[in-house]
Symmetry: C2
């Protein structure tokens, strides 16, 4: 169901009912851009807190233009889900001069990608649903109430502002300049004739500018007692005044009352799409997304509250607004799914889940809703939300196959799903696979990670050879002359550093934490000239304006990690206790649920992640 | 003539010829936004330098999306102009992964305004002509040349990067992960069959991701000697590899050569619209704009060079790139035009110039060009450029009517036009009407300007009364409790200040320069808490996110200045010396040309300016 400013209000009840009846909800958002690199790139060894800080600074100036919501209700008899997908176009059109006039960022490649996928920018800019955060809504309401109060106090014409355009300073009548006198006299004549002779109820004055309208207001209100004036806007934003005959003081009051009610309703309209986000929040329903961290951050920031500076505050705020979140990308990259899912990009995941050992959940759509079973429209937010929900439904059911006896259907509130709850996938992260909203994050041990600078002609082999005495390495190229290098054998961290950092050679090596604090120092002391332009560039470079072959890519080492695959887990009935017979170096222990989760991070995935980022 | 990526190259010669033959050129640009208020609002007492600094920081993150160019050539026989209008759609689509991926800002109200005027965002994002600054162009060329050099050096398959996608770190072959082996083997089989049995010349491999393409490249090049691979992009940005049979080493070299030539041509294409701006610059022709400061700043910044921090450097740079500029808005507000032109907004100006004492210049359009005489399309850049040029042609001819004997036609290079040369109108400025690129700017004496804070219920009359002993005042409201106040009688500045600043009362008064240095101090010391939130808000407030009744409006005093009108000047034949018989307080002396220019700044105009800004 496509939802725009035009049909939003009439659909609001349907949306509310769909949310209320849902067993879970999936969502997805399309943005005007992803990352403003001037605040630093996401790095593969970021802690969740570092990543949050970078995204908060570098991504929130972009805007959500399309919000996909798909509710899933399980029909016990038919053994299938009823899905109600909504594809919302949203845009912060300032509904009046008092409304916030938002500035937002766009990224050319993202815009280009969206148009190539058929995204209709004219539609979103013309018909996008407006929205206000609660703070903005309250401020506007207060302004309107103050204005109405003022109107009641000073209802003399000179002190009345036309149509709320001049809230704020509006401090007294204006002398009519000489060259406006004939214009104003003409208007007065026109109104006199209208009042005396016309049988029409109202008269539209000619289009004129704000100053002229102000002059008309003050003049007409002084000269005519039984007319009501109202500023109106033509199709092309031309503004004009509509004159109406009224019977007297009583009707004037009635009309003023109606106008004030309309102004209040206008604010309610302006709250727009935020109402849907509030409904989702208030429902407390399980909310599913695919690689959802940015979606969650944007949704809160754009429709609820500006995101807090402190990471811990963000975690609390998110849990408060969306108490139950599940990320299908994290699921797909986690045991027991990852063994069967080579690529976790949404489209690939969808395909993979259509075949054994998985079974795609059956879904039907009520009349009036797009049948997304027959229409694949990747990157339309509504479709992506639907596919995300479908993947979730199919993956959770797969968890039932390990139970004794196996179960075809697993409820979204089953303890089997619990281990994935409130863990948000961290894109391009080699160390910590997710952000844990339920408690402490996994700690990123980065003692085995080094920052290196070297001559331009070095290749992966040069670096690998350098470290060969200390085992294999994983390489994250920052640019032609700098890279992050991680030791496979973490126990060799000290010996490798001791060995290499004393070598007088054409390279430098630095512990990762020293590299970070150096970069931070750079940031805090921006005016000072960098002593090492190479190092500075490696962390803070913007590839915004000047094309550069030093642009970062997520190339990885020639000899990547090869992880041992843990055995398939066996689960007790509806129990969240799982047992693993084998673990690997990168198996993470979830302290809250005592469940082992491990994350695939090999060459392919890293490259795939990069591919996905590049392709959005 | 609508110009997009599709027809740009074929029209380039026509555009070049039109520019070369023109007697003058008019232009106009449409932006994604006007002003990011976080860098401070334009204030009516800004010096040109202060204004430049604010615009440079607050406006250049917005983007030019449409550029209107209209060349005017005079046909001596027909006594009319031949106009060739071009309406360019421009968009910085990144043509490859090496190209700059520009981030840019949008302002909701501006976007909303543009769509309401029928602006087609889908068209600009899909079909916009790309562009590169010279710096970007050179960097890309260097990258490509280095890549080709590298290719020549290491033409072993393992070191060759596919289609330039991996310039930068590309340092050796990658081991094929287990789960990709069957995919790669399938591809190898497919190519073997194609090579042996197919009669087709080429084979498109299935769509796959970047990592898979990389594996295909290195595998295929090792296994097959007589195939050529080329990465291609499908309509929906799907990437795939096209396999072609080749006869041997010779054909391989030929194909590589062709590919490299294509890559160079691709950069040339990417320079795109910048070529037009370079043509305009190199022509040295007179360039006319209406209220053109922002257009000039954007055009230089987006297509030539980032604007310099120093104001004087900007002036030099502009003179160097566009040696002759004339601003029709400044003309319209200057003697001898202003007496006959009540409103200088482009549309109004156009109308006014259609009647006596003016005579609209006659214009015809060659075949194939939109006849803008019959199609008014305000806010389409091409149309606005045409109307601007038309207004200029008409106004310059009007100057001939003062000559003895009167002349019907005045050449754009006539000394009569000289007084307006290289003066750019300063919007919403009460003191200095223009920026002078030809030399020193007029100095803004602001001794008679004060910054005041006062209780919320104050109105214009309260302020006027306060100053009544010192003459009339002009009031510029900053918000409900702060305003800038200018004395009409500048000679009373000291007495007014001495009188008022010692009063222990519910208001404060501050000299304008103290207010500025206080605000600057605030900016330099952002982390410190303001001791006077009112003052801070008055200068730095952003009305970006939270709607506020304190939003600044350009309301003005109840008793505005009333300027004496200078007499009509009389001019000698083709002489730039003019003589005025009367001057006023705000008559400015242009030191370069010894020509008096004065600027209308009364209530109406100020409000009109505000109206225009609000409406773009």
């Amino acid at each position: 169901m496509e939802v725009t400013r035009t049909n939003f209000n009439e659909l609001l009840d349907d949306i509310n009912n769909a949310i209320k009846q849902a067993s879970f909800i999936a969502f997805d958002a399309e943005f005007t851009g992803l990352e403003d690199t001037k605040h630093g790139h996401a790095l593969p060894f970021d802690t969740p807190e570092e990543r949050y800080t970078k995204l908060r600074k570098g991504s929130l100036d972009f805007l959500v233009l399309q919000f996909g919501l798909c509710t899933f209700k399980y029909d016990n008899k038919k053994k299938r889900h009823i899905a109600q997908p909504f594809n919302f176009y949203v845009f912060p059109k300032p509904y009046s001069r008092q409304a916030p006039d938002r500035r937002f960022m766009c990224q050319s490649s993202s815009i280009d990608f969206l148009v190539s996928q058929g995204f209709d920018f004219n539609k979103v800019f013309c018909e996008g649903i407006p929205y206000l955060t609660p703070t903005q809504e309250n401020a506007l309401k207060e302004t309107i109430e103050q204005k109405h109060l003022l109107h009641a106090q000073f209802s003399s014409p000179a002190f009345t502002s036309p149509h709320g355009q001049d809230i704020g300073p509006n401090k007294g009548p204006i002398a009519i300049p000489d060259d406006q006198k004939s214009f104003i006299n003409g208007i007065v004549d026109q109104i006199s004739i209208f009042m005396e002779k016309s049988e029409e109820e109202s008269l539209n004055l000619p289009v004129c500018n704000g100053f002229q309208r102000k002059l008309i207001y003050q003049t007409v209100r002084n000269k005519f007692s039984s007319v009501h004036l109202e500023a109106k806007k033509g199709e092309k934003k031309d503004r004009y005044i509509c004159v109406t005959k009224i019977s007297g003081e009583e009707e004037m009051k009635m009309r003023e009352g109606a106008k004030q009610a309309a102004e209040r309703a206008e604010i309610d309209d302006a709250v727009g799409f935020s109402k849907v986000v509030r409904m989702i929040s208030q429902s407390g329903k399980l909310l599913v997304g695919h690689n959802m961290l940015l979606d969650v951050m944007h949704t809160i920031n754009q429709f609820h509250f500006p995101l807090p500076e402190e990471y811990e505050d963000f975690k609390s705020m998110t849990k408060c607004i969306f108490p139950k979140l599940v990320d299908t990308k994290l699921m797909a990259q986690t045991h027991p799914f990852k063994d069967h899912i080579p690529v976790s990009v949404l489209g690939d995941l969808h395909k993979t889940l259509s075949f054994k050992p998985f079974e795609l959940a059956e879904v039907e759509f009520p009349k009036g809703y797009t049948n997304y079973n027959d229409n694949s429209k990747y990157h339309e937010a509504g479709y992506d939300a639907f596919v995300t929900g479908l993947c979730f439904a199919s993956m959770k059911n797969f968890l039932g196959s390990f139970q004794k006896p196996p179960k075809d259907f697993v409820s979204p509130s089953s303890p089997l799903v619990e281990p994935f709850m409130n863990k948000l996938f961290l894109m391009r992260n080699f160390e910590v696979p997710y952000m844990n909203l339920n408690g402490a994050d996994l700690t990123a041990n980065r003692d085995h990670v080094f920052h290196m600078t070297f001559p331009k002609d070095w290749k992966s082999n040069d670096i690998s050879n350098l470290f060969s005495a200390h085992g294999n390495v994983q390489i994250f190229w920052l640019d032609d002359t700098t890279a992050l290098v991680a030791l496979y054998k973490k126990e060799n961290s000290k010996s490798a550093y001791d060995d290499l950092h004393v070598q007088k050679s054409n390279f430098t090596i630095q512990k990762y934490k020293d590299f970070l604090s150096f970069s931070d120092g750079e940031k805090h002391n921006k005016n000072s000239h960098s002593k090492s332009t190479v190092r500075k560039r490696s962390h803070n470079e913007t590839d915004n304006d000047v094309p550069s072959k030093k642009k970062k890519t997520l190339n990885v080492a020639a000899q990547p990690f090869v992880y041992k695959q843990p055995d398939v887990i066996s689960e007790g009935d509806d129990s969240s206790n799982t047992s693993n017979t084998s673990t690997t170096d990168v198996t993470m222990v979830d302290s809250t649920h005592n469940t082992q989760i491990d994350v695939k991070e090999d060459v392919k995935e890293a490259d795939k992640l990069f591919e996905e980022t590049a392709a959005w």
